[in-house]
Homo-oligomer: 272 residues x 4
Amino acid sequence: MAANEERTWKARLHEIIFESNTKAGRLFDIALLVAIVASIVIVMADSVATLHLQHGQLFYRLEWAFTILFTIEFILRLISVKSPAHYLASFLGIIDLLSIVPTYLSVFYIGAQSLLVLRALRLLRIFRIFKLSYFIAEMKFLGVAISSSLRKISIFMFFVFTLVIILGSVMYLVERGQNGFSSIPDSIYWAIVTITTVGYGDISPVTPLGKFVASIIMLLGYGIIAVPTGIVTTEMAMAARSKLQKHEACPNCGREGHDDDAVFCKYCSSRL
Amino acid sequence: MAANEERTWKARLHEIIFESNTKAGRLFDIALLVAIVASIVIVMADSVATLHLQHGQLFYRLEWAFTILFTIEFILRLISVKSPAHYLASFLGIIDLLSIVPTYLSVFYIGAQSLLVLRALRLLRIFRIFKLSYFIAEMKFLGVAISSSLRKISIFMFFVFTLVIILGSVMYLVERGQNGFSSIPDSIYWAIVTITTVGYGDISPVTPLGKFVASIIMLLGYGIIAVPTGIVTTEMAMAARSKLQKHEACPNCGREGHDDDAVFCKYCSSRL
Amino acid sequence: MAANEERTWKARLHEIIFESNTKAGRLFDIALLVAIVASIVIVMADSVATLHLQHGQLFYRLEWAFTILFTIEFILRLISVKSPAHYLASFLGIIDLLSIVPTYLSVFYIGAQSLLVLRALRLLRIFRIFKLSYFIAEMKFLGVAISSSLRKISIFMFFVFTLVIILGSVMYLVERGQNGFSSIPDSIYWAIVTITTVGYGDISPVTPLGKFVASIIMLLGYGIIAVPTGIVTTEMAMAARSKLQKHEACPNCGREGHDDDAVFCKYCSSRL
Amino acid sequence: MAANEERTWKARLHEIIFESNTKAGRLFDIALLVAIVASIVIVMADSVATLHLQHGQLFYRLEWAFTILFTIEFILRLISVKSPAHYLASFLGIIDLLSIVPTYLSVFYIGAQSLLVLRALRLLRIFRIFKLSYFIAEMKFLGVAISSSLRKISIFMFFVFTLVIILGSVMYLVERGQNGFSSIPDSIYWAIVTITTVGYGDISPVTPLGKFVASIIMLLGYGIIAVPTGIVTTEMAMAARSKLQKHEACPNCGREGHDDDAVFCKYCSSRL
């Protein structure tokens, strides 16, 4: 009887903390999200010197208050979940843990509380709350397209990586270690800044030859930036097309390519 | 008889102000557009210190002249329209109101007249004037593609938002609050400047580790910038393809959306 | 007889100057191209202060030599062409004229010779020389895709134009005319620099609110830069697809979508 | 017998050095890769002034050690390969040679060892080691798409080239050789920095007219950057689609390249 009661109590807790289809669960999720946003804002505000001088003491207390709150939430999650080990090893479990540890660490290592911004990752819970099926579908779509692009993009990134080493070194030689190109690593940093079209301007070529080589690198970067875009777009187009089409062939004529909402074969009119 | 006359007078006014298929209506629209452009140019010119010193008095008078002109136009619109409330609540109605209010506000709050640049939104009326059917079709096409991209892009933006908070905080820790990375919000600002490839260079990493992390963020930004482009392109390609579909409805069930190569209706199997 | 001889002489001249399928014509074209490149290089070199001091006299003479050369060429073109008026009004004719006029103008207006760089446009003649059919096909392909994108892009540009006026003015108000945002036109310039992701950094927000608004503008620019890319890509994909397909339907089953090299219908096997 | 033994010895060596499907071959490849990375890191570290002062002597010795190691490897490759001339003329052979020559050259020309970063190209061997068939397929896919884009992109680049000459010269005239636009080549460099959206900010327009012209160039660059992306994306989409085509040949005429929905061979009309 007591065991049964405990099970019920745990099940209720699980429902509130992990689900969001009951009113209590939904309320808990929204309260949690507000707390996450508030705690992130405080960590940010505390990093601003003027605000830290004025309200440092307040921020310190609020930080601890949120950490204790999230610690209680974390313990409740551990209690209510079926397999605590499984939860601890999950992506969300690790994030939940990472979002409370820094405050405790800050007792021993000053400055560790800056890691609290990892709490920002908890914001991703928002998708769990607004569990609208459509959003989930869109996310899956983006996920499929991006993950199937990853291998192509990683090959591409390796080429870019090799390229910026060469280009950076060439510029180091051309500018003879002057004008910010003071070492090969610095010149590689410049090559990355240039080829990604970020262009801070903290390092920029000064000699005529340097400007000439830089111009070629920039025009090269023009073509290069097109490649990842091309990869992602192609994968998305493929994902979009396959989503729109039935994956079954016509039982009569055997042809494929029917729309998702087709009832009859568009080629031979037999029922699909 | 008088009521009838009034109705006719109102109808004429409506025709001139709201329509552009009569000669008078077209003339009114072009005159209005010229007045809008002129008033925007004056607000801009007045913000330039040297021009303000020389012609400030003239600009002030012209500003009031245009405001009174637009106020009269606004009142005429309110009179001639069937449902003034409906017009006031519409997008164009709000813009029309916003483009006159700042001048009156400037009597009480100095500087409010800078808001007059909201008049720029009135420039969008240009599409109403050049009511060429083709332009409308193109705009609809762009509108459909962009609005159906919005949900995907907003999910993507949320991820980018979370990412820049994390990345900004990491750089704040790496550069130890020095070299412009003086607070987490400032570092997040830097992360946004970097990942969007804008790269002002007002804040840029100085330490070797900072440059290394920044390089990784930039290469990451390479792949990330491909995503919104991929989304928009895919939606446009889909919109373009649906334009390619048969524009004829099924003669039996009347439904549309058949592929170009369809022979039989995919809904009811009758021959197209 | 004399008239006939003149016609022949003119025809030969036309062949050499305008055609490139004879050996003499090809040689003329290559010599012309070399002269164009040389004259552009001289104009550029003359603009460099140190080179101008050293070789200014030489550059001056060479400039006149090339101008006289191109003037003779221009007169020969006028003589040998059937309709001189038609040639003068053509794109290439205007460029040919523009590439000699500045030197003569420089006698009256010092500095006019800088316009000589318009000669660079004559470089486009290169495509006439390397009249390889494949290149022409590729250029036509690019031309079709770009010209059919132009209307969509011009609508898009108009929206961007309105947007940067609004955004620039907002930043002018936010930064209160300080930190480089000294007037609305300057702020609009900043908005364009930001939204196109160029990001010089000559003007950048300093106040916290300014940085916040700028961050939103940059993320907005993220989505906006995707639009022209999406437009051009879609048009190119459509042009590429239509190039690959026969535009005729099968005479037996009436279906379309056959490849360019298809001999038999892929649906019903009858000869196309 | 001796000759046979030599052949076997050579064949074994070839297997270890050139193949990676035996355990020894794989180990050799990994050891080589580690050596390449280590030698590149040393060249980079040596270019950093502070590290050079501290460990310059050590770096110098390690550089020579790696060069001797790679020289031995190079000689072994020459011995074990069937046709040494063929290997020397191959892409990988040239890179292997270029990665040892600079150290020897540095005896005569100080500074030549900076060219050692060309060793970075040897990193491309990584693809030979992780000879996973999938990676190869992806690389081929990228290779096909990019190489078939090259001709279109080179035409495009030629137009951009002409454009930046014109635009740079216009800005030189507009800014009257001031504010960094000190010569036409410098102004062309600025035009490239701007149109590729890199935007260092080392040169930026100062006069109102200059800012106006620059704004137009930036908005122009908006459309221009879309073109290479469009080209690459279209080619990738075509390559992806051709991968979707039936991979079976016609049983009658043996030709391939049939659409996914083809029932009859488009060349000879026999049933597929």
